[in-house]
Symmetry: C2
Subunit: 156 residues, 2 copies
DNA sequence: ATGATTTTGTAGCCTGTGCTACATTTTAGG
DNA sequence: CCTAAAATGTAGCACAGGCTACAAAATCAT
């Protein structure tokens, strides 16, 4: 085994990333995925509140494409995590934390869509893909996106 | 309620996307998420086979940052879906389907990393973010990425 | 060759996120 | 006002993907 590992390390035709680094990458992606659902909910709730004034579980469910039971369960989780509040048979509202999360999420979403469009992705496709991509874009990448967009809207 | 809906539709201060469209977007993102794990596994297995010649469950687990039990369960799922094969106490191998999936995934991964770098994301950050982003980039967006990279490597 | 270590596999548990089915409450309409 | 429809909430199920703990097999090293 020692010999085998050594051989692999020296004679590897394709070099692999460090084991620990790679594990961290995947762990980070898994963590992002875990918060993705909550982010989608707060963003949607915020949008509904801003547009119609109401964020009812049924509306949320329809827009997310899930059953109302699923939406209600997820809303319960939002409440557990201190992002939303709701009273029986009243709509759902966001806590200050929820609201600020929604703001961050919306800004990020917009930046991602804009960047995709800027590099030539058709608008409709950009909107579609952004829904999944946005949850995995770090602040550093986001900052780079903003710089890129600024550079390419002012300069030729 | 009819009146209420009408009011919302006409007086909405923020316009929302169509309900069905939005639901489709989220459904697509959820579907992408479902295949993400399988994609990560086949890509990693393919890398391991290409570099060291062996893809053992323990190695896979370590690189993904999960317990070996989790890895074995996921490998079982790969086998169920016809992407991989394995014999007791031998390593894991990819079926032709698994191999071609791995090739597609790797190409996509590389394109995503390259694009991120091209728009100014630091290399290390690009590698990190790409791990989560790649699963949500459609073929159309990928094609756009390729065009962008070509344009920006040849032209000034 | 045999005993220790490593690897592999199994079993059972938890959580998250979907679902359907049923019960309840509110809302709307006649 | 009172019934029918819609919305809401609850219960219970399935499956994916984590985990730990235990059991069995293979490999290494002496």
């Amino acid at each position: 085994m020692t010999a085998k590992k050594l051989a692999a390390a020296t004679a590897a035709p394709v070099e692999m990333p460090d084991e620990a680094d790679q594990a961290l990458r995947f762990e980070k992606a898994r963590a992002a995925q875990a918060s993705a659902l909550l982010e989608d909910y707060v963003e949607l709730i915020d949008d509904l509140l801003a547009s119609g004034g109401e964020a009812r579980p049924t509306d949320i469910a329809r827009r997310l494409g899930v059953s109302h039971a699923t939406a209600i369960k997820s809303i319960a989780r939002l409440k557990r995590e201190g992002l939303a509040t709701s009273k029986l048979y009243r709509g759902v509202f966001l806590t200050p934390e929820g609201h600020s999360l929604a703001a961050r999420v919306r800004a990020r979403h917009r930046l991602v869509v804009d960047l995709l469009i800027a590099v030539g992705v058709p608008r409709q496709c950009a909107e579609l893909d952004a829904e999944g991509i946005e949850h995995h874009v770090s602040d550093a990448a986001l900052a780079a996106f903003a710089r890129f967009l600024k550079r390419h809207s002012t300069a030729s």
